[in-house]
Symmetry: C2
């Protein structure tokens, strides 16, 4: 009997989620070097896109140094065995960008929506299938919805033709037992594969990913050196070492991954992915990283600890785009404080 793990596919996201860590300033040479090294190590999928997905290069989300289609095409040129994947958030990217990415040679797309808004993914998933791409669904901020809601939304994505759905812990807010519960529920309810994408804000990204794998998740994301938004992602080379220790064999060369982390990715990264006060507060509160600066400003204005604002926003399950609510929350907390005092 072969070792377990052969059915697990790893997607390396350091050239997409990691794009946040370098303010979207990856050069074409860097993308080529990292892709070539990952391909040589046997990585299954390599995601290349703006940090916020196709079409994300805007004033609002941050301009990319190099057009992402150019980066995708460059990555495609470098691979012998890995497949190049892209991320698409409907509303930021459109079917137009998806077609372009497909022309450049991208073989897989993850169509990402907020955990309660799977319905906006229908046409993009359909189009990806028409284009002959693998189409997977990405349910972001998965911690913020009840499990039944998550299952309902995943089923929608399955009905549109998604070949897998991910539990996407965008805020790094899930704990291992919560991941376990979510993956188990999806595995029981779906006929397609289930995946997990973690962030390390609470320092449990590797443990969460192990929990997901134990519950049967077969699509797993990692990022070399944790490169990614917030406190960064599940550190790929560490995850692979732990998986080897646990007897899983996914067919990726651990030593080569360790080497490229040190020699190819290491020199690119501007700072380290430590868990600092801000990213910890985000994971603890379970809110988007874009809220942090707003909460700090509102806290200053109303004399409220920004963490209390973040926690309140987390409870209210405020989503991206609702940043104007942050001042209201701060004002209310301030009023409450005055009454209590």
């Amino acid at each position: 009997m072969s070792k377990p793990g052969k059915d697990i596919k790893i997607t390396e996201v350091c050239l997409r989620d990691g794009s946040h860590s370098v303010a979207h300033q990856f050069t074409e040479q860097q993308v080529r070097d990292v892709t070539r090294a990952l391909d040589d190590a046997g990585m299954h999928y390599i995601e290349v896109s703006h940090g916020d997905g196709l079409g994300g290069s805007t004033i609002q989300y941050g301009r990319s140094l190099v057009n992402e289609l150019k980066l995708i095409a460059a990555a495609v040129e470098e691979v012998k065995q890995s497949k190049i994947a892209v991320l698409l958030l409907p509303g930021i990217g459109t079917v137009h960008e998806l077609k372009e990415a497909s022309k450049c040679g991208a073989k897989l797309v993850r169509v990402a929506t907020h955990v309660t808004e799977a319905d906006v993914s229908a046409q993009h998933i359909h189009m990806a299938r028409e284009l002959g791409m693998e189409a997977l669904g990405f349910l972001m901020m998965a911690h913020s919805a009840p499990v039944e809601k998550l299952v309902e939304q995943a089923k929608l994505m399955e009905s549109y033709g998604a070949e897998a759905v991910y539990v996407t812990d965008s805020a790094g807010a899930l704990l291992p037992h919560e991941v376990r519960e979510r993956i188990r529920a999806l595995r029981e309810s779906l006929d397609i594969e289930v995946g997990f994408h973690g962030h390390n804000n609470l320092s449990v990204a590797v443990a969460n990913t192990l929990a997901a794998i134990e519950e049967g998740a077969t699509r797993i994301d990692g990022s070399v050196r944790c490169l990614g938004a917030g406190a960064g992602n599940t550190q790929t080379e560490v995850l692979l070492a732990v998986m080897e220790r646990m007897g899983y064999d996914v067919g990726i060369d651990l030593y080569k991954m360790m080497d490229l982390s040190e020699e190819v990715v290491g020199p690119i990264i501007p700072g380290s992915q430590e868990i600092k006060k801000g990213s910890l507060a985000l994971g603890y509160a379970g809110v988007y990283s874009s809220f942090l600066l707003h909460a700090e400003r509102a806290g200053n204005k109303f004399g409220i600890d920004p963490r209390d604002i973040l926690i309140e926003l987390g409870k209210m399950k405020v989503v991206g785009g609702q940043e104007d609510m942050i001042l209201d929350v701060a004002a209310n907390l301030s009023k409450k404080q005055t009454v209590e005092a």
Copy 2:
């Protein structure tokens, strides 16, 4: 009913294990500032010693900038509620240093031995009790012995008068299920408290600590900002955030811990505690950090990947002081390679 967690005591080790991260160059002012902030946050115990314990300031282990007794006395002056703890490795430190630390006001000592050598801790535990100190046992490299051996050695420490015994994951090599198994076995066999000290080489220090707590460990170590040997320790402020999320209340102020991490400890640390190639290799192989440089040298000499040497040393359960075996291992691997080729 009060929330769970009241019986859990946290020991902050950033001024002891973290001493490795600053090459033992803590100034008295830094120790005072960090101690005062930790005390104000309600930390239970603060360990202050050379990274290798009392008496560690030598050419071999690295000279401290300031005499540790002076640092201990300074820390004692700063605390209103926290207790100052020290670490003692018999062989590096002696009962003489223990008496001096007690005179300076240290209230607790962890007497640390290799997991198979608890017998060398007897006189130090006895002396600590005579001095009126809390005396706890620290079984280092706990991953490297079978569970029965660990239990046997912990019972020895209990018989000497230790009031708790720690599973000490010195190499950051344990995985959550392995921690669970060890803590459970000790809880079933001992009448005293059980503790856990983690390292983050495999990125599971927080998850390991949670597993230990769930199995009933009540003495828990953390280090602010992960400051410590190897990839650093369980990050205290992150652990506390996760514990709050899980409903544990240990009576330490989370916000104050987050603030001191950023404002008091942050400015001191020379680099970040990322998981890099070297520390990952150590955790994966389960060997002491002091082996890394030797393995790299031996690898160069014999044309062997240093990681293969570390893994072999881990299998052989080589301990500190047996560094001369590293060349033999490299030579043997090289011979084997030649035969196979």
